[in-house]
């Protein structure tokens, strides 16, 4: 009987989740009675509505660009990345990856993967498990906020997002790499996005590698070939940067 139930469950799962199975529903060898298929449609609609609502809510700016084929796109996505987590939000997790493989969309919006990833990271960082035991950056005299992610985007993703949100035309978007630090403010628990300079990125990455603040400064002086008469100025810049990162609760 287990095999029989297994077969029923598999058939129903495919019919509910996947368009390909649904479109072939009357052609399957052991096709279900018409009445049952009609009733499966109710579940298909409930599940599709739930997934579409979820994905639209998370990828609100991506949706604004791709809304014309949105439902078809979501159906294809679910087929390519079937939900494998009991956590509902995770149904949406691989959507950026999926979009990154859609050649027609990329032709029109080459930044689409990054835009979707930018939107997903807000959810990921908001929900991320607390990590109270983190000692990242301890050698440098601080703890780097454990709930963070540093992303190197090829496109000016914050500008793109701002334009879409404001309903402004995007115009021609060219590559213009940006580093974005996304983190959860430990005080408000809100997610913050900060564009950071290559210098700040290098500083944070070196601190995370276990170097002390002084060592990091020395490495950076060497790397940027800072002349002796500019040293004070450079040190002041570093101190200001650390102060700002502390004020923003990136460094704790």
């Amino acid at each position: 009987m287990k095999n029989n139930l297994q077969e029923i469950e598999k058939t129903i799962k495919d019919l509910i989740l996947f368009d390909s199975a649904w479109n072939k529903r009357t052609k399957t060898r052991k096709s279900l009675p018409k009445a049952t298929l009609q009733r499966i449609k109710i579940y298909r609609d409930l599940v599709n509505n739930s997934f579409t609502g979820l994905i639209t809510k998370i990828y609100r700016n991506t949706y604004k660009l791709l809304h014309k084929n949105w439902k078809t796109l979501i159906s294809k996505y679910i087929e390519a990345y079937p939900p494998n987590s009991p956590i509902l939000n995770k149904v949406a997790e691989s959507f950026p990856l999926f979009l990154g493989k859609q050649k027609e969309i990329i032709k029109k919006y080459p930044f689409i993967y990054e835009l979707a990833l930018y939107e997903w990271l807000e959810v990921e960082i908001y929900e991320k498990e607390n990590d109270s035991g983190s000692t990242n950056g301890k050698q440098a005299g601080f703890i780097l906020n454990p709930v963070h992610k540093i992303c190197k985007f090829k496109y000016p993703i914050s500008d793109i997002t701002e334009k879409i949100e404001a309903g402004k035309p995007l115009g021609k978007i060219s590559k213009n790499p940006v580093n974005i630090l996304i983190y959860r403010d430990p005080k408000t628990l809100n997610v913050r996005f900060n564009e950071i300079s290559p210098g700040t990125l290098a500083y944070l990455e070196l601190c995370l590698s276990g170097f002390s603040h002084e060592m990091v400064v020395m490495i950076l002086i060497e790397h940027y070939k800072i002349k002796e008469n500019d040293l004070d100025n450079f040190n002041n810049q570093i101190n200001d940067m650390v102060k700002t990162l502390k004020e923003r609760r990136v460094l704790i």
Partner: protein, 283 residues
């Protein structure tokens, strides 16, 4: 054979009338905490989460007994249980220390894919056997009383048994409790044309630990259990009938979206309390 579950049942706390913990309701829940006895949460909405979601859980726990009600255990599934989910739920239980746990008589995890809805099972003796084994496993894993909920269902598979017969056999053979969703009884009785009172009378109601009550959406040809509307009088009447027949430990008002003013929910909680009182008198 003496039922271990019925012995355990006597020791379970009487919780009163609770509300489902939803983010949208959270501030009001805390504000009006004196009018709500307990909270229900879906572990799947809290496991592996930090930040504001975890804080909400801790605040809830500070003010209320918190009862877990699962969504995705897939108790009727033929896939092995999702080990990671089980582990995460166990971790989660360490935080909330619940007196019992429940999930739906359905399947929703097939070939490592989650359907994220409650899909009904064929009501036959083979399925009963399968479910009894699975429920016993769940009881062994969590070591707290486990309750099965009657879900609403919109399709009928290869059924050889009546729904109430199916539920009763499972509950008795697995020696577990019932979470009776009275709105689902109403919805199913309308959609599948049966007498809800007869349905109740054929269940082992002495196993009822918890009750769910909610609103639904009447779409004419079919009624959908949405948890997004107010409770209708016929469902309150059915609750009254149920409470004349048994004394559950906890009743939950389910409201998951389309949220009204909070006062409306508090009024529904009051109506549930009145139903409890009047049923007690009538009994």
């Amino acid at each position: 054979m003496v039922s271990t579950f019925l012995k355990e049942l006597k020791k379970l706390p009487n919780l009163g009338v609770g509300l489902g913990l939803r983010r949208e309701l959270f501030e009001s829940i805390v504000k009006y905490k004196n009018q709500i006895d307990w909270l229900e949460i879906a572990p799947e909405n809290y496991i592996c989460r930090g930040g504001e979601i975890f804080e909400r859980l801790l605040t809830a726990k500070k003010h209320f007994p918190v009862i877990p009600h699962g969504l995705n255990l897939s108790i009727g599934g033929t896939d092995p249980f999702d080990k990671e989910l089980i582990k995460n739920i166990q971790e989660f239980f360490k935080i909330i220390n619940p007196p019992w746990y429940s999930d739906h008589l359905c399947f929703n995890y097939v070939e490592k894919t989650y359907i994220h809805d409650l899909i009904p099972l064929p009501y036959n003796r083979d399925t009963v056997k399968h479910l009894v084994n699975r429920i016993k496993k769940v009881q062994d894993i969590f070591q707290i009383p486990f309750l099965i909920e009657n879900p609403s269902y919109y399709m009928v598979l290869d059924n050889e048994m009546k729904e109430e017969e199916f539920i009763s056999e499972i509950a008795e053979k697995a020696d577990c409790g019932l979470l009776l969703d009275i709105n689902n009884v109403y919805v199913n009785s309308k959609n599948h044309k049966y007498d809800p009172i007869k349905f109740l009378d054929n269940l082992p109601l002495e196993r009822t630990v918890q009750v769910h009550i909610a609103g639904h959406l009447n779409k004419g040809k079919i009624i959908i259990d949405t948890h997004g509307e107010s409770i209708i009088n016929e469902v309150y009447n059915l609750l009254h009938e149920l409470l004349k027949r048994c004394t559950p430990k906890a009743i939950l008002l389910e409201r998951d979206f389309n949220f009204p003013r909070f006062q409306s929910l508090l009024n529904e909680i009051k109506k549930i309390r009145s139903a409890m009182k009047s049923a007690k008198k009538a009994a």
